[in-house]
């Protein structure tokens, strides 16, 4: 049984859709997220308006409910058809140049994330690193080599970001398809390593 064989209630669709899976490309403003999406996407990156929640105070505070407001942001994304039954979506997280955004609506159900880093502005990616660490989403840090230049060694980046030992830190070039592909593969291998043994059947089910 393939992933999407169950038909929607009461209405048979003419064409069976693929199982959609998604990964998230995060990082500070202007760090190359949309460039990375565009390098590997089979379509020109699209932009849509989406809502995210901005937390006024007390990020990740589980004991108090912080004040929240909903903000409309531009969301860039692309996709890659793996085969007729499986399609990968890549979403760039918007607004992460500031602390206190919640991207749950975008990130919910993501296989993993790539946090893109510019070594000249390392602290821009702190919110993204914090976010994925706290939500236990598999992620890797990808240092974007602007013009082939990386100003710090990977060990310096790892130390500065204080990411745990299990988080891969790699150098990549957001403009190069093969380089983006390899960085995404690092995340997917990490996600695969986290799957435990035992049967599971993924499917798209009608709502």
């Amino acid at each position: 049984m393939t992933s999407t064989e169950r038909l929607v209630r009461g209405a048979a669709a003419a064409v069976r859709p693929p199982l959609p899976v998604k990964m998230v490309i995060a990082g500070g403003f202007g760090v190359g997220k949309t460039t990375a999406v565009g390098s590997i996407s089979e379509i020109e990156p699209l932009t849509t308006e989406a809502s995210i929640t901005e937390v006024a105070a007390g990020v990740d505070d589980l004991t108090h409910t912080p004040r929240k407001t909903t903000t409309t942001v531009a969301l860039d994304f692309g996709c890659l058809t793996v085969d007729p039954t499986l399609k990968l979506y890549l979403f760039g997280t918007p607004g992460q140049e500031r602390f206190g955004f919640m991207w749950d609506d975008i990130v919910e159900g993501a296989l993993g994330a790539l946090v893109v880093v510019d070594t000249r502005r390392l602290d821009d990616c702190y919110p993204a690193v914090d976010y994925f660490e706290h939500r236990r989403i598999p992620f890797a840090v990808a240092v974007n080599a602007f013009d082939g230049q990386v100003e710090h060694t990977l060990e310096e980046v790892r130390w500065a970001l204080d990411v745990s030992a299990g988080v891969p830190v790699v150098v990549f070039d957001a403009r190069e398809r093969g380089s983006v592909r390899d960085a995404l593969l690092v995340v997917l291998e990490l996600a695969l390593a986290r799957t435990g043994p035992g049967p599971s059947a993924a499917s798209a089910h009608p709502r």
Binding site: S3, V15, T48, E49, F77, E108, L111
Partner: protein, 146 residues
């Protein structure tokens, strides 16, 4: 009246404050959903990558549908995600969520919500890894032949 056009004010009142920057959309985004928002029911909103595709009934009813509903069913002759649909039709994602739910209830759209367990499915991840490895780099060389 109240048709969303930016014509002359029939009453002749001039705005007092500073003029808004840039043209306002002709129709406020959530007017087309009658003010309803996607996750008002307390349940989780449909994920961005949720696949939608027109049903035969939906395509048959195309001539009876109007505006955004017509555009959504027409665009969904081929399956696509809510995010693609919103981007291509220039609608707010949450507007598309509400209208897709309406069209699903009317039997005009099939909505496939992805199973969250797919994230933990090793077979899905392996297919994805194999598929991605076969993507050639900018010089046309796939990773698994390097």
């Amino acid at each position: 009246m109240a048709d969303g056009t930016t014509g002359q004010d029939p009453v002749g009142l001039e705005p007092v404050g500073p003029a808004p920057v840039g043209p306002a959309p002709a129709v406020r985004p959530f007017l087309v959903t009658a003010g309803r928002v996607a996750d008002a029911g307390g349940g989780r909103a449909m994920p961005l990558e949720t696949q939608v595709v027109a049903t035969a009934a939906g395509l048959d009813a195309l001539g009876l549908l109007s505006f955004e509903r017509h555009d959504i069913v027409a665009a969904c002759r081929l399956p696509q995600s809510l995010a693609e649909l919103a981007a291509r039709l220039r609608l707010h994602l949450n507007v598309v969520r509400v209208l897709a739910e309406d069209l699903r209830e009317a039997g005009q759209l099939a909505v496939y919500v992805p199973d969250p367990e797919a994230v933990h499915d090793a077979s899905v991840l392996r297919r994805l890894i194999d598929g991605l490895r076969a993507v050639p780099d900018s010089r046309g060389i796939p990773r698994n032949t390097e």
